[in-house]
Symmetry: C2
Subunit: 165 residues, 2 copies
């Protein structure tokens, strides 16, 4: 047989720790939050900053609930300012003026990916702290990706550019 | 201001209809099914083949519930054989022997992406119909992506390679 299942394949080792941090505006949905936590766990991302009172559902996040550190902050803008001072390239995921298509965006290794909430996205105060905004083309209906789906695409693209960390 | 919100940006027009079809093994979770339907709607994919008795939740799929045709089939292998006869490149999403990393996989424009169920993945009968198997590297914990998350990454990569259809 040409293709045979490989069950429980061990994870690909990273040459270095991922320098990608995800910072989330208050998510309306714990499901979206928990899906993003699982995504980060699988992708080798060790740190999420979460604003608001969202709770991680361990049924959804699985082992990522332990693998990923979820840091709670009261509001996003001060957390972003700290990340900018720490030398992160500040990249928002949003549709704005001057946004760049994710297909063509070269990430810095040390990046903070800033993700807005499901309805409101990122505020103008938050947008002002960003160095770049990336957007993902939508081709059909509905006119926007779910927030966890969009985050998945951005994380995938980062990992594609830095397959070994 | 450098970055200003663009609300309700119209979708990017495709130069031609997407020739990507998604065929799903019976999903255990209607949430995963419905997330994949929304994903396809946003990505301009007009056709999903679904096996099993899953129901699309319109709250999750949104307008994609109308935009995407969800074709019901009793079992996956005969549906796959039909797609192969229709000239589709048959690409499975799975961890198998001889699978290729999604990062390095050049899609054919006319592709059927075959997605296994949450637990069992694709059967050996289904794997035997495939031309290619793609896998997505996992770097941490848990050791596998959620099925809708993995499908999101494969659809993103296809759209990246064919940004205009």
């Amino acid at each position: 047989m040409r293709f045979e299942h490989i069950r429980h394949k061990p994870p690909t080792p990273l040459d270095r720790e991922r320098e990608l941090v995800i910072a989330l505006a208050p998510m309306r949905s714990n499901v979206n939050l928990s899906r993003i936590v699982r995504l980060c766990g699988c992708a080798g991302i060790r740190r999420i900053i979460q604003c608001g009172s969202g709770k991680v559902d361990r049924e959804i996040a699985r082992d990522a609930a332990d693998y990923v550190e979820v840091i709670q902050r009261r509001s996003l803008a001060p957390a972003m300012e700290q990340l900018a001072r720490d030398g992160y390239s500040m990249v928002g995921l949003e549709q704005t003026t001057n946004s760049v298509c994710l297909f063509e965006f070269p990430f810095h290794r040390k990046t903070a990916l800033i993700v807005g909430s499901e309805r409101e996205g990122l505020s103008s105060e938050e947008l002002a702290i960003l160095h770049h905004v990336i957007e993902i083309p939508v081709y059909g209906q509905p006119a926007s990706y779910n927030v966890a789906t969009a985050t998945t695409m951005a994380v995938y693209e980062y990992c594609r550019q830095f397959p070994n960390g």
